[in-house]
Assembly symmetry: C2
Homo-oligomer: 298 residues x 2
């Protein structure tokens, strides 16, 4: 394709708008890393995910795996840099743009798989923050990411970009009501923690208690129940973490739904942490406690 003003190009470019995405159930994926992850997922599941791939010959030459995966879809079209620039939301899509079907799943599906770590974005609005949390959730081995009603659109090109491919690794659930979500995850056996800068429970205390339980039980021969420290919440439990809107944090209603309001400790003078940063610390703390718990591993 050489004409950046072709109808097809215009149709794809419209996917930068939420209304067009929602009408067609399709979204844009840009750049070699994100497109490769989309194609890998496409290749591994039964139903097709990637409906179109546009790439420059130079990009395919440079990334042979991408070339192979894209060719295998039967939906690859060579395109000039001008066409690629017109298709993409970014000025420089680095030679490749794909169109994908929506891939969010249902809360039922997620809960049926007995998740142990779930990140819930409660009205998080900034695309970069949402993407950072999704990427951190993937890194921490979370089983799902849920975006409640009123959160940024996970298919916004800025969110897709900032997940750096993690959107294709972690099951995502969107448009859920917060109250209903909490009730459902509780039924599924998960505890619920609210990340809250004003929380009275210190994340480090939860980590200390969890470590003490583990080392206590190891010392007593690998049994369980040997922990003797008073625990407000056992961090090694299957857990859904609630993360709030960047300006307002979690609402009183959301906070009231949680088993505990947990603050990441601030050792310096910073007033608060960015929600993406706080979420990273919280998810890694849970992942570490769960991994180390002798009752759940080995």
């Amino acid at each position: 394709m050489t004409n950046p003003r072709a109808d097809r190009v215009r149709d794809v470019a419209k996917l930068a708008q939420r209304s067009a995405r929602q009408r067609r159930g399709l979204f844009l994926v840009e750049g070699p890393q994100a497109v490769r992850e989309a194609l890998r997922l496409d290749a591994s599941r039964g139903t097709p995910l990637v409906t179109e791939v546009y790439a420059s010959p130079a990009c395919l030459d440079r990334y042979p795996e991408l070339d192979e995966l894209a060719t295998a879809t039967g939906a690859l079209r060579l395109a000039t840099d001008e066409v690629l620039a017109a298709l993409a939301d970014t000025v420089n899509p680095q030679g490749i743009v794909a169109v994908c079907r929506y891939l969010d799943t249902s809360l039922d599906d997620v809960l049926a798989r007995s998740p142990r770590l779930v990140a819930v974005l409660c009205r998080v609005q900034d695309p970069g923050n949402a993407g950072t949390i999704l990427r951190a959730a993937d890194a921490a081995g979370a089983d799902a990411v849920v975006l409640t009603e009123g959160s940024v659109d996970v298919y916004n090109p800025k969110v897709v970009r900032s997940t750096a491919g993690s959107l294709f690794h972690v099951p995502v659930v969107i448009g859920v009501d917060g109250d209903e979500l909490v009730a459902r995850v509780r039924e599924a056996g998960l505890g619920v923690l609210a990340a809250d800068g004003y929380g009275v429970v210190d994340l480090d205390v939860l980590q200390d208690e969890s470590a003490a339980r583990r080392l206590g039980s190891e010392a007593s021969g690998g049994g369980n129940g040997a922990g003797d420290s008073p625990s407000s919440y056992a961090l090694e439990r299957p857990t859904a973490w609630l993360f709030g809107n960047e300006a307002q944090g979690l609402s009183e209603e959301e906070l009231a739904l949680a088993d505990a309001r947990v603050a990441v400790p601030i050792y310096g003078e910073a007033e608060s942490l960015n929600v993406g940063t706080a979420a990273t610390v919280c998810l890694y703390a849970s992942a570490r406690a769960q991994r180390l718990d002798p009752g759940l591993n080995g």
Copy 2:
């Protein structure tokens, strides 16, 4: 002030450019939170920091503490929203803009205060990442942040904004050569860790070993030297962390300078972590190990 085309307004607005900042040794601070932190620091030190403050009456009405601090400088001028928009780098400076003197300090000053936790940005280029790391370093109680030659300008308005005031909390050193820096921090008794996604040392292993030493020594009556696990690096040591450029990571030369190359473990499928996210996890791990070490606290 009511004329957005006045010479004074133009002069201030030029501080969005690096060349103007460097020539004059001044930078822009925008928004109530950042300006308040600048004014608080200004009020607490001997040499003046804030040279000019421009604010709308509405903003001063809304933030009485800001009004008081700004008035006390003797450098407050009321301005219209049009003037404020013309002064600032952002479209909406939320009613207040200040001009500050450069506040970076020397490596000598930092090392003279026996720092225990230092974050080193090695050619980090993205303003948002640099700001996130500075904010996380502040939250984790780091004693200084160092930006090596070739890093983003810490006085770039985007960096200043994304630090959310932490630029005025943590001593910052700029323009240092990486080799020299490492030699100097070693002389000052700090160990050096490289955050490296390909590192062979797992951050969780360092945390486990540190926790085991602590609990071991507590069990033996608070003595020290009771740790019996093989340690590649004692996380409770005073430490300088090296964080690399977002695209290239740390160079082989930089990696070779470190005592260990440490990876934040990836439990899921994510290929890597954003440098800001990785830095947060690393700095918090050190802060926690240092805080808990009985040899250094209580």
